[in-house]
């Protein structure tokens, strides 16, 4: 009896102890030293994706709190006590059950509308004036090619990572980037969380994704599809510049590439 009451208090304490870390999600999302933080978007695509996440997250938190409250209240209010008669044998309440079938349905369909709209927005073809980048995954380094930036021999500017150094993908801010993603061997996945969600690199096909970067900065990323032994080491770094700085960087790299024998 007294023990039961103790258990209930423990129960509330523990539920709070569980709930608080979840609350910390929002707090943790405030950046700090988290270079791949999806809650610190630095590009249009990542921002839209975070918005969609919040649309689902807040109702989810509300429902979670609601369910837990009902649970705890039931356990307190209706716990078995000696001398208490057997409860009324309620079999159901069709009206209530239909209501709690239709209400979630309505909520979910409501969520589906902006969700579908964003899917088509993010899945559209890149603009014609976008900067094309070809991304090729290899076990276990990334390769980047700039098909529209060519050296004297007509070879596109190419950046290849090494096992010790992740490659740097330099990009201009404010301009649409059109990624064409493929693989030279197994399936990889290109992911720079602060810029946007991921897209798989699949051998034998090109997958397309567009990005826009808001501000100059350094944005790390890594392979997000298990690709074998050193999957964990297959990293990359996006370095975003203002347009002029980007052009200067490109010219420098091209010169180096031509000299190095292409």
């Amino acid at each position: 009896m007294g023990l039961d009451a103790l258990r209930i208090d423990k129960k509330i304490t523990f539920y709070l102890a569980i709930f608080l870390p979840i609350l910390a999600v929002g707090l943790a999302g405030c950046g700090v030293d988290a270079p791949q933080n999806t809650f610190a978007p630095a590009g249009e695509v990542a921002e839209k994706q975070r918005t969609i996440f919040y649309m689902a997250m807040w109702p989810a938190v509300a429902i979670l709190i609601g369910v837990w409250l009902v649970l705890v209240m039931a356990l307190i209010r209706y716990r078995r006590r000696p001398g208490r008669p057997l409860p009324k044998q309620v079999h159901g309440n069709p009206v209530l059950e239909v209501a709690w079938t239709l209400a979630p349905l309505a909520l979910l369909l409501g969520l589906a509308v902006p969700m579908v709209a964003t899917v088509f927005d993010l899945g559209r073809n890149p603009k014609a004036e976008a900067l094309r980048i070809r991304v090729i995954g290899h076990q276990w380094v990334w390769e980047f090619q700039y098909p529209t930036i060519m050296d004297e021999k007509g070879k596109p500017l190419t950046i290849l990572g090494t096992p010790d150094r992740p490659p740097e993908l330099h990009l201009p801010v404010g301009r649409e980037i059109a990624l064409e993603i493929t693989s030279g061997d197994v399936i990889h996945s290109f992911w720079v969380p602060r810029l946007g969600g991921k897209m798989d690199a699949i051998p034998g096909r090109f997958n397309h994704m567009w990005l826009v970067i808001n501000e100059p900065g350094v944005y790390p990323g890594q392979c997000a599809e298990f690709c074998g032994l050193l999957h964990a080491d297959m990293r990359l770094i996006v370095v975003a510049h203002e347009e002029e700085d980007f052009q200067r960087w490109a010219q420098e790299m091209l010169a180096r590439q031509s000299k190095g024998g292409g």
Binding site: F14, K88, G197
Partner: protein, 628 residues
Amino acid sequence: MATVSQPVSVLEALRRVRQEAATYRGIWSWIATVDHKRIGILYGVTAFIFLLAGGIEALLIRLQLATPNGDVVSPEVYNQLFTMHGTTMIFLVVMPMASAFFNLLVPLQIGARDVAFPRLNAFSYWTFLMGGLLLHASVLAGGAPNGGWFGYAPLTEFPYNPGHGIDFWAMGLQILGISSMASAFNFIVTILNMRAPGMSLFRMPVFTWMTLATAFLIILAMPAIAVALFQLEFDRLFGANFFNPVKGGTPLLWQHLFWIFGHPEVYILILPVMGIISEVLPTFSQKPLFGYPFVVFSGIAIAFMSFGVWAHHMYTTGLGPIANAAFGVSTILIAVPTGVKIFNWLATLWGGNISLRAPLLFAVGFIAMFVIGGLTGVTHSMVPSDYQQQDSYYVVAHFHQVLFGGAIFGIFAGIYYWFPKFTGRLLNEKLAQLHFWLMLVGFNLTFQPMMILGLMGMPRRIYTYPQGMGWDEWNMLATIGSFVIALSILVFMANVVVSLRRGEEAGADPWDGRTLEWSIPSPPPPYNFRRIPVVRARDDFWHRKYVEGPGGRPVPVVAGGAYEKHGHQEDEEHIHLPSPSYFPLICSLGLPIFALGFIFKDYALVAAGAVVILYGIYGWALEPATEG
């Protein structure tokens, strides 16, 4: 010794083995058993041992990830660890645990003496054991599989994975698939055909309903992975081109086939446990399940809808916005029947007379944890946000929330609930409470940080991570949590050992239960029911104990039951039970031999395996099902 007498004495020895097995004593009585209760215990104990193996693999994973740049294990070993952990937990723990419950409970809940095909039932168990052993034998043959439990091609194709590990994985899963399907056929026929008189489908306990739904899912989903695994092995062993981009094949074919199986599979994992919860809550609230028809229909709806959502595992593979949007909508919708169940469970508790014993604690833990898992699933279904979440620790958090916070907690609810029925003894309540709280704290410490890690950009399946990502503290927390879970499992094991020896005697009906299994002694006699009951209502046993009094409250009936018991009267001696048989085991033994032959391209071994299987089948077909 004349050679003439040799064959006779061998036959005589085998006949004596069968006779001894029929006495329910000794090792032969376990090896040749066809009794569903014994098979259930075999499944449960074996699955628990595999739980320990999978758990140790998890602890090693967590040790490696506790700190950045960890070097507890090499990358190769790490990749084998997470492959084995996932494969083990899904196929060798949760599924067989559910089979343990199906076996122990379904015949009792429908008022039958055994399942429709007792020898096929034994075969299912032995085949499960063979599949699990074959999978683990890979360690002796050059290394465990390392392609993940999902085995994406082309990483699992021969050029990128020339060792035998993947072959052991594929063959092991095929054998496990045979076990599951045999079991599923058996239980569908049992549930449809062998219910006691008066037990219409809508008078069946919800656990039996969920068994039926799960079994249908198994028989319709497993063939897809069987085909995928055959295709992978044809590529690996015989140079086919199913997933070979060089010859025009697409790796996406593997993913489609795998997930057409894989998504129904996760419902195969959770529906039985939802059935368990639907039994425990009413018993410990002393009122019926709220909205039985809705709960049953939502289970059926989940089963149907599970076939229409598979590509939500493939949002980032470039299927295009139309496919992504369509699967996004279908996935969002599957949350509806799941939500209905949760609300119905809450309404079952509400207004009840709730006893906070271990089974109820774990059932409440299930609801609290599963609802988080379900809601994170809804966030996954929001396709654009899934582009960030996919392949990150957010996914790892989500599925552990539903499979551990859900399925495992539910399985423990079932264990604490039904252990007294099958052993005659209650598990110790204080140790059970300790187990529960330790497991709840440990579980949350381990997996809530993973939600944060995923949202902070930590991908999954990585053997290490660098400093400076903001991931260090969360990983350390998760590792600590995993050891708290381990501790809770040790407490449970101690409880079982102590209680088997000197646990409180349970009697037939320690919980004031509602369903037929509580109407027979604990442990049940081999024939289950002396008289096959005639069923008059849902929760028939409850209605024999209580009638409805004023205000709809139950009033105990003094003696003899609320209505006269009719039914078959049988003397114990005249109840015929299926005879034990060792042919199911022989058949099962042939399967790994057959598979090993293919793995090592030793066709003599393939032939030998085939001979053993055929010998088993013919022996089985020709032996009489009952002796005398």
